[in-house]
């Protein structure tokens, strides 16, 4: 299959529909932060990562740590679509006994590489995984997605400093820079300042792109692999929280963990079709 713009756009819409639907089944969830990372996850899982749905624990596979663990439902939609588990399971999201909890859980969900949810920690775990891959010399690439609000955690910068010190060129990270956090706009709560300059000064190979432009994401990942010069990579994604569904985008700061009715689900699905 040709992985062109039309393919990615169709696939991302499909993933957004699955995401809205499974959160909609329950009536509440992290819609904003899920929808903002769908495009990067789509590019990674359909065009970049070496993973096998039939063998989720395959040695030497590429790994993804969704450090902003509350975006779990977006990842679950992709994993289900790829066949890591049946799509019907998506409707069990967040129900007691489910394998699909709000925040990513590697013990429960086939294809989830790291348990996340306590912000900042997953990113350090990704650094540990990248070191592990270096020790084993298995040539895997480790991907990590952090939030902009999450970047206020001190642990992010501990990990940033150390990944650069260790020259972890097998680590490619993304910041989902949607500019909103639970209590308000990131710039008003605790400004990130010049984020690209921060990562550059920490010794990372930094790129900044439109986080909803699939081909730009693909190109940035390829560049991160080719041009890193022994550095870990940070790709800052300018994104829109709630991307793809007008009323969710418009809810702005209120879309972090928002209720959604069945009528709203229908409106969203129509817009995404």
């Amino acid at each position: 299959m040709i992985k062109d713009r039309a393919f990615f756009e169709a696939k991302s819409s499909e993933i957004r529909r699955l995401t809205v639907q499974c959160i909609g089944d329950l009536g509440v969830g992290h819609l904003g932060g899920c929808l903002s990372v769908v495009d990067v996850l789509t590019v990674l899982y359909y065009a970049v990562m070496n993973v096998d749905p039939k063998n989720p624990h395959m040695e030497g596979r590429d790994r993804l740590v969704l450090s902003k663990g509350h975006a779990g439902p977006a990842l679950y939609s992709i994993l289900a679509d790829k066949g890591f588990f049946p799509k019907e399971e998506l409707s069990t999201l967040n129900r007691a006994g489910t394998n699909l909890p709000s925040h990513c859980d590697m013990l429960r969900t086939p294809g989830v590489d790291m348990t996340t949810g306590a912000l900042g920690q997953g990113f350090s775990c990704a650094v540990g995984i990248a070191i592990g891959s270096k020790i084993k010399k298995d040539n895997a690439t480790i991907y990590a997605v952090i939030g902009d609000g999450e970047s206020q955690e001190g642990q992010i910068w501990e990990a940033a400093m150390y990944a650069s010190h260790r020259k972890l060129d097998n680590l490619i990270a993304f910041t989902d820079y949607n500019r909103l956090q639970i209590d308000g706009p990131t710039a008003e709560i605790n400004s990130l300042g010049d984020l690209a300059a921060k990562w550059t000064s920490f010794g990372w190979f930094v790129q900044r792109i439109d986080g909803h432009d699939h081909l730009a994401i693909l190109e940035a990942v390829q560049k991160a692999k080719a041009d890193n010069q022994g550095r870990p990579s940070m790709i800052i994604l300018d994104t829109v929280k709630g991307k793809g569904v007008s009323f969710i985008e418009e809810a702005g700061v209120n879309n972090h963990n928002m209720p959604i009715t069945q009528e709203q689900v229908q409106i969203a699905l129509e817009e995404l079709s």
Binding site: M114, T115, G117, G120, C125, G128, I129, A159
Partner: protein, 318 residues
């Protein structure tokens, strides 16, 4: 030999045989004796600098890759400073990471209150799936290391890092889940851990002079607690004293009280830090200041026996 020397030598021996073992320090490798491992194992022994949170989560990442990481720091920084990383990255994610905290309680000596963990056992004991272990001497530490590695799950090793007097014999058989009855007795049980075991044995000698036979148990593994051994003992003695280098809240006293109260309630008295923070001083001075002494254990044993006798007298009068 110092405890840290034994710890590092055992790691060295096992790292030679087992490529999964990784040692991560946070700028205390010299203090913990692990620095020398880096020459021999440059890939598997490294330092993350003064960044304990990062150390804990990096270890979890490595464990998810099939490694068995040991992370080391001083007790307070290996536990209370990073308890969320331990709880989520390590324990909740079921990662096989061994957490090593040195200088427990008053043994932080001249580093003083900021470096004195009076709450580490309470924190670690309350984290689901965590095994909590404090060796009494070098022989026990040496024998425990293979079992700690063999145990598939997180372990907290509370490590006195300098010299300890020998308590156990060279041919002693260690079992991580079995407390050691060091001396048998019928009048009172003394359950002690870490540096307080030595004091408990001294207290036993004092009590013997007063015609009292104390049973001394070394509770090296606080979780899972060997309640069977403790309960058997209190069924025989009818009262118990706990002695620990930790706050009386959350540690050995709490663990023993939980086991005894639910199964066979008997009078319990305790020796430990009385819900206050630590301060600077030499070990001997701090033992006196905080009442972590053989004399205090003996006095508490007398109290426990008196309480037992008064309960029994009360029973007869009914």
């Amino acid at each position: 030999m110092e405890m840290r020397g034994i710890f590092a030598a055992e790691l060295d021996r096992m790292m030679e045989q087992d490529e999964r073992i990784v040692v991560i320090d946070a700028d205390l490798a010299k203090a913990n004796g692990t620095l020398l491992l880096r020459e021999k194992y440059p890939d598997r022994a490294f330092d993350v600098g003064v960044a304990e949170q990062n150390m804990a989560s990096i270890a979890a990442g490595l464990a998810s890759y099939g490694f068995i990481p040991f992370i080391t720091s001083f007790c307070p920084f290996a536990t209370r400073r990073i308890c969320d990383q331990i709880a989520v990255s390590i324990a909740y994610a079921s990662q096989n990471v061994k957490i090593v905290g040195s200088d427990p309680g008053i043994s932080a000596e001249l580093n003083g209150g900021t470096h004195m963990s009076v709450e580490d056992l309470g924190i670690m004991r309350a984290i689901p799936s965590m095994t909590v272990f404090e060796p009494v001497d070098g022989i026990q530490l040496k024998k425990a290391m293979p079992q700690i590695i063999e145990h598939n799950g997180p372990v907290y090793l509370r490590l006195f890092r300098k010299k300890r007097p020998r308590i156990l014999a060279e041919d002693y058989e260690f079992n991580l889940s079995r407390a050691d009855i060091l001396q048998a007795g019928s009048d009172v049980t003394i359950a002690a851990s870490g540096i307080m075991v030595e004091e408990a044995l001294k207290a036993r000698a004092v009590l013997k002079g007063q015609g009292i036979e104390a049973e001394v148990i070394n509770v090296h593994t606080l979780k899972p607690l060997d309640s069977e051994t403790i309960l058997k003992s209190v069924v025989k003695t009818g009262c118990i004293v706990t002695a620990e280098n930790h706050n009386i809240i959350g540690g050995l006293r709490s663990a023993v009280a939980e086991a005894v109260a639910e199964n066979f309630p008997v009078p319990l008295r305790s020796v430990g830090i009385q819900d206050v923070f630590g301060e600077v001083g030499r070990l001997g001075e701090l033992k006196e200041i905080f009442g972590l002494t053989a004399e205090n254990i003996a006095a508490k044993a007398q109290e426990a026996i008196a309480a037992k006798n008064s309960q029994r007298t009360g029973g007869k009068q009914k």
